[in-house]
Structures are given as C-alpha cells and as structure tokens.
Amino acid sequence: MKELLNEKLTKQFPEIHFEVIEQFDELTFKFDKSAVVPVCKYLKETDGLKFNLCEDVTAVDWATRKNRFTVVYHLFSMENKFRLCLKVDVDESECSVESVSSVWRAANWPEREAYDMYGITFLKHPDLRRMYMPEEFEYYPLRKEYPLMGIPGAVPLPKK
C-alpha cells in the first residue's frame, strides 16, 4: 500500500514534495499546505485508494518551532482497510489552511474544533464558528501559552 500510494501521488502531483514517515505501523505523508484539497480529493476519488472515511482533523502546537502548527488528517479506506495520516505545516504568521469539508462533510466539525482550540482559520469553510467555547471567547485554549488554570474572566457570564 505504501509503494502504491507513493507512486500514485508523485505521478499525479509531480510538483509537490511528499515526505513519507513510517512509524508504529502507521503511514504518514507530509506535504505543502497549498495542495491539501486536490490531494484529499484525489485520495478519496481514485479507484484502488478510496479513502472515503475522514476520521479526524486536528492540529498540533509545537510552540517554539518555525512552522508552529501542524494540521493532521486521519483518513481510512474501507475498501483497503487501511489508515493514512496526512500532515501539513501551518505557520503562525499565515495561520490558515484550506478546508477539506468540501471533500468530506465529516471534516466540518473537527475543523471547527481545531479553529476553536488553535485559531487556525480554515478557508472556504461553510460555517466556521467556535465549537465548544462561547463565541465571545478571545483566546485559543489548546495553544501552549494558554495556562492550564485558565484566565480569570475570560469566559463571559450569560447575559441574563
């Protein structure tokens, strides 16, 4: 499966560099964030791959690294019974990546959650609101600089 994926992806997207990471029996492809939607569409629709289930979209905050955030996609192909992980780096200065909810509708809420927790904007998302925190909340709680105890007064009380 690894060879097949590598071959198909490099053939389809010759201009993009795919970094292949393999650990704990899991396969990960890391590439530039500009290609995320075409790659996902290709993985979902190509015969023989058919990654039809988008299990999760989430992000990791590396705090001190140059590309501060990594957006992580977990995909599953029911046909091949194979799980694939995709990763794209996002920098804090340009904190956005295109939404894949046009490819899988399942990505809608996880992307909202990542936006809520990390402040990463998902471009062309149909309904980008906060998932858990109130809309008036100003911080991004899962960023490493947000204290575990919270910030007093950060969560507004209900109006009535």
Partner: protein
C-alpha cells in the same frame, strides 16, 4: 423548549440557521416560521445537547446543534498529566461504558510505548469491553424507547445493566468509574467464580432480552414512531463520518473489530449485524442484534481465557506489584520513577482506534519522549455522529427530533470532552 427572540441567539448561529434566507424575522409570533430552543436542559437530549430548530409549523427546516456545555478540556488536562494519571479521566468520556474507554486508551499508550499486555489481560479487557457494550446498548435501547413513550423497557434494561455493573464492582472495585485498565495489563485478576457468575448471567440474559424485545417489536406505536424516520443513505452516512451501529444501520458493513483487529477479536466468532434501511428502527435493530453478538463473544472469552499474569513484567514502563514495592528496592525505585516522572515513551505519534459501543473511539497521541503527552486528541464517536443531526432532522416533524436523537445515541461526556 422555549421560543427565542433575536437577542437570545448569537448572530453567527442565526446565520447558520437561516442560511441565505435572511428575510425571516424570528420575533414575530404570527409568522409561520419560528426558531425554537431545545436543550441543553431537556430530558430527551441525553445530557446537555442544545439544538436550535428553525420550524415551519411543525416541520423542521433547519437545525443547528450547539455543543460545549460539558466541555471540560480533557485534551488540555492530558498535556499536563502523566499517561497513567489520565486513565480515570477516560471513564468520564463515554460514561455509559467506562471500561471500554479504559481499554482503548491503554491500547493507544501501549502502542506508543511498544509493549503488549499478556494474553490473560487482553482477554479480560475483551470481556470488560463487551460487557460495557452490552451496558451501553441496553441504556441506548431503553432511552430510545423512553423517548418515544415506552417506559417499561428502560426499567427492564436498567435491571439487566445493574447486574453487569455488579460484575464491574467485583472485578474493578467500582460500579461505574472503573479505571480498570493499566498500561501493560489490567489492575487485578478475575476469579473463576466471577467468570462462572458471568456465564450464569449471560444464560439468563438472552431469555430476558427476548422478553424486552417482544415488548418493543410488538408495540405498534414504537414501530410507527421509528420506521422511516431520520433516514440516512449509505453514502451520506460515510461522508458525514458515521461509525459504529449507526453506520451499520445504513448498510455499510464496517466494524473496526474486523477491519483492523485488536486484542484477540480475530479469534472470536461473531457476526456484524447490518441493516440497509438507515432509519431509526434499523438503528434500534442493529443495537439489539449487537447485544446478542456481544453475549456470544463474552461466552467465547470465558471459554478461551488462558491462565497467567495480568500485568506485563517491564519495569521501566509498567507499574510493579504493590507487594514487591514494599519488599524490593529495585521495584520501589521504578514505582517512584513511574509515578513521579511517567513512563517516557519514545518520541513519535500514534493513532489507535477501537470499536466502542458508539462507534470509533480513537486516541491520537504525540509524544516528545517525556512523561506527559505533548498532545492528545480524542476522536470521539458521539461527536462525529452528532454532526449528522442537521441532515437527519431536516424535513421531519418536531416530535421526531426526539426519536432521532435517541436513535443516534449520543453521550455528551464524549462529544464535549
């Protein structure tokens, strides 16, 4: 349920509800359309799910679920505690089936740390996970029946569940928040008497469940409230991220116990019930069939369970036994190091998913080689399943919303994390 005015609803939610249609005024009582608030304090929302419904008469035009009323920030907390310390918090995710969550979490950490629990521990985990699945489905079926007006089944379901909780009490020391799995095994062994009692319970359970099923399957009101309500097609179900019984009710034969076998599920003989209708009734049937399959697995586990250790002997990763801590220096040091500094798994990232009673429960752990995870993401099935609610309730009557939410079986502790 309460009718809302414009000031009550955040503009962004209003926009999500109305879509492109902005001429609607939500204040005018004489208008045919209105916006109604359902939950978070509503008995049929299974916890604290809040839904804003845009209604045309009694028909739902649009629905916006609002989450976060039970958001406790477990992912943030996990980054600030050791791997072992997080175990009790997994109980509180899907609080109807705590042992299954413990097992899922332990498996993810073990994959990261590169250790495998001994066979007996894995069998015990399977036993607990299946009993938890039975618990969860009994509550799901009972609550669904209660939502559409049949109270008896709920009480009968809870009666059976109570017996399972008694086994949890004997095995884990707690009825509810079990915290039973450990990294590298389980907390304590199961006696042969307990196994005998579980077999006796399973023997009488099938008969009892037949009785319960007769109550429901012969109940015309129950069938008519569910049949053809909240239909979701196969492709939509996959696209919207359904997993577990909800997906199998839409005709997709997908079960992680078969697709990516873990523990010893590949040695077990069980069927995966699949229904193709995709309505609320099919979701109920899948759960009912799965209960019987779980009972079958429990029986096989008790037949096959091997003798041996229940904790791995791996001093740097697994807590040593209490008696040895008190008598041996080496074990005392390891215990001190593990409790205070954590198990320090290698640098890396791992995603491990199991088939929980609600669907796919996955843990994504990023380790920097420290005692605490750098990032832990919980992929909870209820969260993904709830996402389909707007799709399911569209065009249905307002009374069907209750049946649809009940048939999806969301647990807010897990959806809100």
């Amino acid at each position: 349920m309460q009718k809302l005015t414009k000031d009550d609803v955040h503009p962004k939610i209003v926009q999500a509800l109305l879509g492109a249609d902005i001429h609607l005024t939500i204040d005018d009582a004489l208008e045919n359309e209105m916006i109604l608030n359902m939950g978070p304090q509503h008995p049929a929302t299974h916890g604290v799910l809040r839904m804003l419904l845009r209604l045309d008469g009694e028909t739902v035009v649009a629905c916006v679920p609002e989450l976060g009323y039970l958001h406790r920030g477990y992912e943030k907390m996990a980054e600030n505690m050791s791997y072992l310390e997080f175990m009790p918090h997994t109980d509180r995710l899907d609080y109807i089936s705590p042992p299954a969550n413990n097992v899922a979490y332990a498996l993810a950490v073990e994959k990261l740390a590169g250790i495998t629990a001994p066979p007996r521990a894995q069998y015990i985990r399977m036993l607990l996970a299946e009993l938890a699945r039975m618990c969860s489905h009994l509550v799901a079926i009972g609550a669904l029946a209660m939502d559409v007006g049949a109270l008896t089944v709920f009480l009968w379901g809870l009666r059976e569940r109570e017996k399972i909780l008694d086994f949890f009490d004997v095995i884990c020391g707690a009825r509810f928040t079990t915290s039973y799995a450990r990294i590298g095994g389980v907390a304590s062994d199961v006696t042969s008497d307990t196994l005998k009692n579980i077999t006796a319970f399973i023997d009488q359970f099938e008969e009892k469940f037949d009785e319960m099923e007769r109550l429901l399957n012969g109940n015309r009101i129950f069938i008519e409230r569910l049949e053809g309500v909240g239909v979701i097609e196969k492709d939509d179900a996959v696209d919207l991220g359904f997993t577990g019984p909800n997906l199998r009710a839409s005709g997709v034969e997908f079960d992680l116990r078969r697709a990516t076998p873990y523990l010893f599920y590949n040695e077990m003989d069980f069927n995966i019930p699949v229904y193709t209708e995709g309505d609320c009734l099919a979701r109920y049937f899948v759960r009912a069939d799965e209960l019987r399959e779980s009972a079958k697995i429990v029986r096989q586990v008790i037949d096959k369970i091997p003798n041996g250790e229940v904790m791995l002997n791996s001093p740097k990763k697994v807590l040593p036994r209490k008696t040895e801590i008190y008598t041996k220096m080496e074990e005392l040091i390891h215990d001190f190091m593990i409790v205070n500094f954590g198990i320090n798994p290698p640098v890396g990232e791992v995603y491990h998913a199991v088939e929980n009673s609600k669907g796919e429960l996955g843990f994504y752990i990023v380790s920097k080689g420290e005692g605490q995870p750098w990032r832990m993401k919980i992929r909870s099935p209820s969260f993904a399943n709830l996402q389909a609610i707007p799709h399911l309730v569209k065009g249905q009557m307002i009374s069907d919303v209750v049946a649809i939410v009940g048939s999806i079986d969301p647990i807010m502790g897990e959806a809100d994390k």
